[in-house]
């Protein structure tokens, strides 16, 4: 319905008559009390046949066909749903709620799901759904469209794709699948086509600012941790910058269940939020000061010697020797001519000599076992250098401790607003718990200091011996689904750095310069804008990433015009230089609105799909559309769209007499010689379908189930019966996934002594890269908030309850559970100081830009901050300019470092767009 129907109804009955006003009971009637006895009870009416009224309605929602689905989005929740359909139309969805309990002592994972998933059946038929291919007629973004046929769209797109490949080279085509599709089924199409064509694509986690570089520093892996049922067994849980009750809705029950099981739950976040409410202790840290708090936590651990020395000696680089003269790690090359760069030393307490540590990258022993070595943690010694001169050395432990000792909780309270008692107690809870987990949320790395906060939290876990079954740091566990390569990456692709490409493509250095005065940058980071630019140039030279602006962009499920900071500036810089922007999408999001072509895709319930890489739980879900589901408009699955593109590109290439384009950037073995990879345009469709074996989305899902070892022994038929299958032991990256225990990272390292994926082969807490040394960040330390004082308020935008980024953000049902349009959260005192009342229209502004939204007064929000749940579509704001319009571009020098050990461009080492370091002012706006 059918609002019209409703209005008709209300009009018919008369609004004033139907609603509102006092209504006294009919006392005589109530007193008669025939049907209400002394106990106030009543009996059932005689005629109950009418009850079928609701029974029939229920059966209607149950439908005549059932399918299974999950919601493929970047919440990483991955929940199995049953989808009901009637007469070819989806009526409703309900969780499958049949995941097996892995252990009677741990609550099961049912029912999973959330407020977004439960209304997708309404989203799929909503008026922003894309039904037909559309071609832009007016100016970009103007909203003037012409409906075209698939054929017409494909032919024109193919002409421009082949044009750019011919004229501007293979890398001038960007074929990028954003985080709107992360499943293995639907994502495979765009990945495969891009890989065959040699198109450039971005590392998605970096492009959206979701890299955990602090974890990468420590472990060489960004996404590590636990399946979230591990929370239940933990005795201390520290939730740092993660609002799990809002962003981990399907798993949040484990938190209260853990509390009921005796856990202390610490929630560190500037605003009192839904997760703080679930916690035993809330730590109201001032925005952007988390690294100071982290250092105070380390301070207490070092000061009170709450240290698991056995763990630290073996599993970390804390016993490694550091030169006192230049602060660098002592290396083999310091002691021997032609010595190695990646062999490091400890001071052996047994032999009282410097000894190479086993398990480092350059050491022949690939194990962390110390044997007879007893590495010292504290002290200073002298070793003989290769020129015969003595070199004074100490340990990383000493350096880390010295740094932490600068931050007593009493001293940081001024900065963080956190009372020392909280820090002291949190440190003790962490140390004494048999199993403790520190969850790092996506908020922390939105600050430049986030890298340090996360790294310090990793060090806190290391000092207290929390790893493997004892818990430890948790960013986000992902499973290892091997075997997908031949499907998604049959040929090498051009990987571009996510954050740096966005930075360059959007010309965002300009808004950084506008917002952060050079002197301010220099004081906060030790380098000004020019210094940062120089670092960017170095990154370009040293990195093996692909660099270069695209000319033709085929985007799948990536709302980059909503997401990127300095919104209008970015859009101008990125879109205006493009020859063609094509958006494949199921709904008209902001990026679609600015595109030249919009191609309508199927959404969550309409094509086959499979998802199992998400490590919050161990279940691999499948989407099987209900039988007889009617297509919505002319929508097609991503796989079909990619195949159409492949066919059109092949036709156009042949028309121009091009069979293939050699790609000398990538070499393959051809006989006994190496030759360039051939981008075979003529046979592109056959290559895409693997000779006709992969014609559609169902073929892809069946292929995955047969070829991914972690899914064995399950068959597609098993999955089709229940909507999911359980992953096997192989799914774990650095630990086995046991059938009856929660997953914990690093069991292979802790119990089998396998080296970590770091330069030191250990959990690494010393980086002597010149940039880290210059910034005083060789070991974890605190960095101040970067936000300038030119505007009075901190502006930060945490993840939303009523959307997964921009997905479902415009859903009618969810908007009705909000206030229908974007609201800014203000502390009542902040609002009062500006003469702003509840519901007033606001202008939020700074030297980068402005946007308009209404005020919502929230006692839970800290004074001095302007807060807003993120990812509203810009077209939900006045002038169609969204909240990122007042966020300056910023990247972190710590994340631009490349070519130092494990800090080398790869999926585990790429940076973030800094999102929470802008300052704003507010004023009441004219309506």
């Amino acid at each position: 319905m059918q609002r019209r129907e409703f209005l008709k109804g209300t009009a018919y009955c008369g609004l004033a008559l139907a609603f509102g006003g006092p209504l006294a009971p009919l006392p005589a009637f109530a007193r008669k009390g025939k049907r209400v006895g002394a106990g106030g009870t009543a009996t059932t009416g005689a005629n109950r046949a009418w009850e079928d009224f609701y029974r029939k309605e229920f059966l209607g929602t149950r439908g005549d066909a059932q399918g299974f689905a999950f919601h493929c989005s970047n919440c990483q929740g991955n929940c199995a749903w049953r989808v009901f359909a009637k007469d070819g139309k989806v009526t409703r969805e309900e969780q499958v709620a049949a995941y097996p309990q892995i252990n009677p002592k741990i609550p099961d994972a049912n029912p999973r799901g959330c407020n977004k998933g439960v209304v997708h059946s309404r989203q799929m038929y909503q008026a922003d759904r894309l039904l037909h291919p559309l071609k832009r007629m007016g100016k970009r973004g103007a909203g003037k469209w012409r409906r075209v046929t698939w054929q017409e769209a494909m032919d024109d797109i193919a002409v421009r794709v082949v044009d750019t490949l011919q004229k501007n080279g293979l890398g001038s085509l960007m074929l990028h699948c954003g985080t709107g599709i992360l499943s293995q089924g639907r994502r495979a199409g765009p990945l495969r086509l891009g890989s065959l064509l040699g198109a450039q694509r971005l590392y998605p986690a970096s492009a959206v600012g979701d890299m955990f570089t602090g974890a990468s520093l420590a472990y060489g892996i960004a996404t590590i941790g636990h399946s979230l049922d591990a929370w239940f067994e933990a005795k201390t849980i520290i939730l740092w910058g993660i609002n799990a009750a809002v962003t981990r809705i399907p798993d949040a029950h484990y938190l209260t269940e853990a509390r009921y099981n005796g856990a202390r739950i610490w929630c560190i976040t500037p605003e009192y939020n839904a997760t703080a409410k679930q916690s035993t202790d809330w730590v109201p840290v001032k925005p952007g000061t988390d690294s100071s708090l982290a250092m105070s936590l380390l301070h207490v651990l070092f000061r009170d010697k709450l240290i698991d020395e056995t763990f630290v000696r073996e599993q970390t680089d804390l016993p490694f020797l550091v030169r006192l003269d230049n602060g660098e790690l002592l290396r083999h090359r310091d002691l021997r001519d032609k010595g190695k760069d990646d062999v490091f030393y400890c001071w052996d307490e047994v032999s009282q000599t410097a000894q190479p540590m086993p398990g480092t990258r350059g050491h022949f022993t690939k194990s962390l076992r110390l044997g007879k070595l007893k590495p010292a943690l504290s002290g200073t010694w002298k070793v003989k250098g290769r020129d015969g001169k003595e070199i004074a050395v100490t340990t990383v432990f000493e350096r880390a401790r010295a740094e932490a000792m600068k931050f007593p909780p009493t001293a940081t309270q001024q900065t963080t607003g956190v009372h020392p008692e909280l820090v002291e107690r949190m440190a003790r809870d962490l140390a004494r718990a048999d199993k403790a987990i520190i969850n790092i949320g996506f908020s922390l790395h939105k600050y430049v200091s986030g890298t340090m906060t996360c790294w310090a939290a990793a060090l806190a876990c290391a000092l207290t011996g929390h790893a493997g079954e004892r818990g430890g740091l948790d960013t986000e566990n992902n499973w290892s689904l091997g075997g997908i390569g031949p499907l998604s990456s049959p040929k090498p692709a051009r990987f571009a750095s996510g954050f740096f490409s966005e930075w360059e493509n959007g010309g965002m250095a300009a808004t950084m310069r506008q917002h952060y005065p050079d002197a301010h940058l220099k004081a906060a980071l030790g380098m000004d804008a020019a210094g940062l630019a120089e670092l960017g140039d170095k990154f370009r030279q040293s990195s093996n990433a692909w660099f270069g602006k695209p000319r033709v962009v085929l985007l799948f499920a990536d709302n980059l015009l909503q997401r990127n900071k300095s919104e209008s500036h970015y859009r101008k810089a990125f879109v205006e230089n493009l020859d063609l922007l094509v958006n494949v999408n199921h709904r008209m999001d902001t990026t679609a609105l600015w595109s030249d072509y919009v191609l309508p895709a199927k959404s969550q319930y309409e094509s086959w799909d499979l998802r199992g890489e998400l490590g919050y739980h161990r279940f691999c879900n499948i989407t099987v559309p209900p039988k007889g589901l009617k297509p919505i408009g002319e929508t097609k699955s991503e796989w079909e769209i990619c195949l159409l593109l492949a066919e059109a590109i092949s036709r156009e290439a042949q028309r121009r007499g091009i069979d293939s384009i050699p790609d000398p950037d990538f070499l393959v073995q051809a006989g006994d010689k190496a030759g360039p990879v051939l981008r075979d345009l003529k046979n592109l469709p056959a290559e895409f379908t693997d000779g006709g074996k992969l014609k559609n989305d169902e073929d892809v899902v069946r292929w995955l189930m047969q070829n991914v070892p972690a899914i064995a022994p399950w068959t597609p038929e098993d999955a089709m019966q229940r909507g999911f299958v359980t992953l096997n032991r192989e799914a774990g990256f650095n630990s086995p996934l046991y059938a009856n225990r929660p997953f914990h990272s690093f069991e292979n390292n802790v119990y089998l002594r396998q080296p970590y994926a770091t330069l030191s082969g250990r959990q690494q807490f010393y980086v002597d890269h010149p940039v880290y040394m210059k910034m005083g960040c060789a070991t974890p330390t605190a960095l101040p908030p970067l936000r300038p004082n030119t505007f009075p308020f901190a502006f930060y935008t945490p993840h939303a309850r009523h959307g997964i980024h921009s997905q479902w953000r415009t859903n009618t049902y969810l908007l009705r559970l909000q206030r229908g349009e974007p609201h800014v959260w203000l502390n009542p005192k902040t609002a009062q100081g500006k003469g702003i009342a509840e519901g007033d229209p606001l202008r939020v502004f700074n030297d980068v830009g402005e946007f308009f939204a209404k005020a919502k007064l929230m006692p839970a929000v800290p004074p001095g901050s302007v807060v807003m749940d993120h990812a509203w579509e810009p077209y939900q704001f006045r002038n169609k300019l969204g909240l990122n319009n007042a966020v300056a571009g910023m990247i972190s020098p710590l994340e631009l470092v490349d070519g130092w050990g494990h800090l080398t461009f790869n999926p585990n080492w790429d940076g973030n767009m800094i999102a929470f370091e802008s300052a704003v002012d507010i004023e009441k706006a004219r309506t």
Partner: protein, 332 residues
């Protein structure tokens, strides 16, 4: 007395305010036919004005054996209109029209989400899911001049006979929880039916079964094995909302704990930030004892001791939270 009473316990410590139940109910029952503005089940932030707006001041319930007068909520101001949005004008037409409700929204079921009360850093809020309480002494039933409201013998579910009802709305005014809605299209009053068509088929209520916080237990009140009986009658940690209205609700709440407030220096005081007085206002004086029991049992678990209460609230198996099979006759 009806033979049996199916009842629900909602654990407010487990409720995360995600609104999955709200929308599960909506797609099951209220997204059509004049019910669009209704939320048979919704979750509101407390303290707050709630939904419908200021329902706590809208009268109804019992004063001794007399019904108290009540006020009918207004559509736009108290319920909120079920807004549609300007998708076509914003996305498919030229111009600067932002996406907006086609009529201005004045209120809604979750309007004061996360606002609560108090002053930073001691602000506080919690979530209160609300549905028809299927009261033992329903004021709505007594108020109906058509005798259209009844309580089912077999499960105590309170229903409005959709054939007898003429939409006089005395029930709406009489319900102190304002959980009955007038359907202007049908010209009848409607409300939560405790999902009896699902329950009859052994499928728990949509709001309860689909609750991802695993906050809701459903069982017959006299089922001694069921969590409802044990939480309500034995442990006495689950309490009805506003018992003073005298309707004897059959939806019970485990009251919320909260982290400590801070003194002027930021030091934790050890006192919960939700004032006891406020909880007494909602759940009556028994709430203090209920909170003390919860804290005592949590402390047991913290010390590594066993607690049957905690294990019950943890609810190791989702399926075990619902006991819809009628218990055998029990002699007491």
């Amino acid at each position: 007395m009806t033979q049996r009473q199916l009842a629900m316990v909602i654990d407010l410590n487990k409720c995360i305010g995600c609104q999955t139940c709200t929308l599960a109910c909506k797609s099951q029952w209220t997204d059509r036919g004049g019910r669009e503005f209704m939320y048979w089940n919704h979750v509101e932030t407390r303290p707050g004005k709630g939904y419908p707006r200021d329902w706590q001041q809208a009268g109804g319930g019992w004063e001794g054996d007399k019904l108290k007068p009540g006020r009918l909520p207004r559509l736009a101001e108290d319920y909120g209109i079920p807004a549609d949005f300007s998708f076509d004008a914003t996305l498919f037409k030229e111009g600067e029209q932002p996406l907006r409700p086609t009529e201005p929204m004045q209120w809604g079921p979750n309007w004061d989400e996360d606002q609560g009360a108090g002053e930073f850093p001691n602000g506080y809020f919690f979530y209160l899911p609300r549905l028809c309480n299927h009261c033992t002494k329903p004021a709505c039933l007594a108020a109906c001049p058509r005798q259209a409201i009844s309580k089912r013998e077999e499960d105590g579910i309170v229903l409005i006979d959709q054939e007898r009802c003429r939409g006089y709305r005395y029930c709406v005014a009489a319900c102190p929880y304002k959980k009955i809605y007038f359907n202007p299209l049908a010209g009848r009053s409607e409300k939560c039916i405790f999902c009896y068509p699902r329950v009859e088929q052994g499928i728990p209520q949509a709001c309860a079964y689909q609750c991802v916080g695993r906050a809701r237990h459903v069982a017959y009140l006299d089922d001694r094995e069921g969590a409802v009986h044990r939480l309500v009658n034995e442990w006495k940690v689950a309490l009805p909302l506003h018992p003073e209205h005298g309707t004897q609700p059959n939806v019970y709440y485990v009251p919320p704990l909260s982290p400590a407030t801070f003194d002027a220096n930021g030091k934790p005081t050890g006192q919960p930030r939700i004032p006891d007085d406020y909880l007494v206002e909602l759940f009556g004086p028994a709430v203090k004892q209920a909170l003390a029991v919860l804290q005592r049992e949590i402390a047991r678990k913290e010390k590594g001791e066993a607690s049957a209460l905690m294990d019950m609230l943890i609810a190791y198996k989702h399926g075990d939270m619902f006991r819809l099979g009628r218990p055998p006759e029990q002699r007491s």
